[in-house]
């Protein structure tokens, strides 16, 4: 009973606010502000309930699986909600100043539609994280994908619209593959509930195909090589707050569903070879994405390719969390890395947005001279976020990579360690490349177009969060332990 309100305000508050923001466009920012408050309170309550009473399950409609749909808040869900709430609120604050109707009618138009789309995206994310029903997840995925596409298109320029359309095609076809997988799973197991699937799934050809289809669709949505091609143009051409949301949260939504499927619903059906395949693709993404980032000419494209690379690390979780030893270490390492990447990447896109905006839309890296003196706070935020991407202590990136390294060594899969190290060096190179240009003194004073302090400080706050997340990693790991999938904790007691 007591958790129903939290579940409801997590999902329904942004939804209702989005509807109202559509009807009354002028209230958009206030509605978003109120939503951030409501979601934060609901999140705090949910966390307390989880820590006091364990996993919280809410049966929508009172039916319960398999007939009804269950919502569930376990450690993983609350962990992801924490990231979503923090970044959602930060992006909300940033966007309050980013879109300014007084500057031009085009921005007035953007502001008017940004709020309902942003709030719909937020409720889609919360609904996705709390759902345990794979068909319901399909609906949330579509809601998430559509709102992401439309937010990109809000930019209005040719490159953004083209990228948005490509993203829409990719996203729709991936969703259909996922849905086909759901159809086969339902026929085979007579349920679409994750928890029940864990007990009913039997190995066999149909389910193998179904899992392959769902995984394939989700991989494309989470931009793992070779399904990454849509991501850089989409993330680089969107308005800055949107880029932050996309790179930090949206791609993680589909990754989250993969975690649920592989470790919760069908752990018995996953072969080590499949995990290694994902790990291998992830390793390729780490190297390929970082190399591409290194040679980009535009700042936002560099940051976007860095997302391709960093997402690759997440997939190292699949082989490592299925290894002989250190499964939970790998799991928590991957997720802490995810959290820190979300904060760092959001901070990077926001600070890049500040820099680009102050330069009247120009974002060539070669022309970043004077960035450090003109936008000191944003430059500092970019650098701090870069530390986390590289993985220097005490950042969350360091904590995550450290846990992954430990798991890799414990499982005797040392080759992943090499990938992590090479990836870090490449990340250091591309972050340094930006900063070197940024710290060059400007030959002539650049165009003075100061940003609102709120925009600068929001970016910095997220960067500090990412860079200091190492201190939180113990607490985060404890949180992840609540209701963690059984497969991660071997009966012999190998978990740390």
């Amino acid at each position: 009973m007591s958790h129903a309100g939290s579940f409801a305000s997590m999902i329904l508050a942004p939804l209702a606010a989005a509807t109202l923001a559509f009807i009354f466009p002028r209230l958009g920012r206030w509605l978003a502000f109120g939503t951030a408050g409501a979601v934060s309170i609901a999140f705090a309550r949910l966390t307390r309930l989880l820590l006091d009473g364990g996993v919280q399950v809410h049966r929508v409609g009172g039916w319960g699986a398999p007939l009804g749909i269950d919502l569930r808040a376990d450690g993983l869900a609350v962990f992801m909600l924490l990231i979503t709430t923090a970044i959602g609120a930060a992006v909300m604050l940033y966007a309050l100043r980013y879109f300014n109707a007084r500057r031009s009618p085009a921005e007035g138009h953007q502001e008017r539609y940004f709020w309902p789309l942003f709030l719909l995206l937020w409720s889609a994310l919360n609904a996705l994280l709390l759902s345990t029903d794979i068909f319901n997840l399909y609906v949330t995925l579509e809601l998430l994908g559509f709102s992401a596409v439309l937010l990109i298109a809000l930019d209005g320029r040719r490159a953004a619209l083209t990228a948005a359309l490509r993203y829409l095609f990719v996203s729709l076809s991936a969703s259909l593959l996922y849905l086909l997988g759901v159809a086969i799973v339902y026929t085979r197991c007579a349920t679409v509930d994750l928890t029940l699937l864990a007990t009913r799934a039997q190995p066999g050809f149909p389910l193998t195909i179904a899992i392959a289809l769902m995984t394939g669709g989700l991989l494309v949505k989470s931009a793992l090589i070779p399904g990454h091609f849509w991501l850089p143009p989409a993330h680089a051409n969107a308005p800055a707050p949107v880029s932050a949301l996309l790179s930090a949260l949206v791609v993680k939504g589909s990754f989250y569903i993969m975690l649920r499927l592989w470790f919760e619903a069908f752990p018995g059906l996953i072969t080590p070879a499949a995990g290694n395949l994902l790990g291998g693709l992830g390793a390729a993404a780490v190297i390929w994405g970082a190399l591409n980032a290194l040679f980009q000419k535009r700042l936002k494209l560099l940051v976007a390719y860095s997302t391709v690379a960093q997402l690759g690390y997440l997939f190292l979780l699949f082989p490592l969390a299925a290894g002989h030893e250190g499964r939970f270490t790998a799991w928590s390492g991957g997720l802490v890395f995810l959290a820190s990447h979300a904060c760092a990447k959001a901070a990077m896109f926001l600070s890049a947005g500040n820099v680009v905006r102050a330069r009247g839309g120009r974002d060539e890296i070669a022309h970043l001279e004077g960035m450090s003196s003109l936008q000191p706070i944003s430059t500092f935020a970019f650098g701090l976020a870069g530390l986390s991407l590289i993985g220097l202590p005490p950042s969350g990136g360091f904590a995550g990579k450290w846990l992954l390294l430990r798991a890799g060594l414990a499982a005797g899969q040392g080759w992943w360690v090499a990938v992590i190290l090479i990836g870090s060096l490449l990340a250091a190179a591309y972050v340094a490349r930006v900063l070197v240009h940024g710290f060059t003194r400007a030959p002539v004073p650049g165009p003075a177009r100061p940003n609102s302090p709120l925009m600068e400080w929001t970016a910095l706050a997220l960067a500090i969060l990412a860079a200091g997340m190492g201190f939180l990693s113990v607490w985060l790991t404890d949180l992840l332990q609540v209701g963690a999938p059984a497969i991660l904790i071997p009966p012999a007691g190998g978990a740390p």
Binding site: S104, P105, A106, G108, H109, Q110, F135, V139, E142, F146, V149, L150, A153, G156, R157, R158, A159, L161, T162, A163, A164, L165, R166, L168, F169, L172, S173, L176, L179, L180, A183, I184, Y186, T187, F229, P232, P233, A236, K297, R298, L301, G360, G361, R362, D363, E364
Partner: protein
């Protein structure tokens, strides 16, 4: 109860999905891709409905039916969005196909804030 052979319908469903995927990968015109997605969707729905109808009892399983109705509504929303987005892209680029990846990602040069490339139509 009417007799029907579910295998026929399943194969037809698989064929629709494959044809849709083929067209999606092989053609580049926006409208063809949108049609392809719809055909693919119909294939997926056919699989779901066929399974629901196989139950021996007198009434087919209503759960997949509800899922398909949801899916149909989602797919018309997707179609509507994709069509409008495609028209916007055509209005800006003059083309009805997505340009190559290279073209988009190596988009260099200044991107002034209010160039005539700006698509939105706020100018009175």
């Amino acid at each position: 109860m009417m007799y029907f052979d579910d295998r026929l319908y399943l194969i037809a469903g698989a064929a629709l999905i494959t044809i849709g995927l083929y067209a999606l990968l092989a053609h580049r015109h926006f409208l063809r891709r949108i049609l392809a997605l719809n055909v693919m969707g119909s294939g997926v729905f056919m699989v779901l409905i066929t399974y629901s109808a196989r139950t021996a009892g007198s009434i087919p399983d209503p759960v997949p039916h509800a899922m398909v109705i949801t899916g149909i509504v989602v797919s018309i929303c997707a179609t509507g969005l994709a069509l409008v987005l495609a028209e916007c892209v055509q209005a800006l680029t003059g083309r009805t196909e997505l340009s190559d990846e290279r073209e988009t990602s190596e988009h260099t040069g200044a991107r002034p804030d209010t160039s005539d490339e700006q698509h939105q139509d706020q100018s009175p």
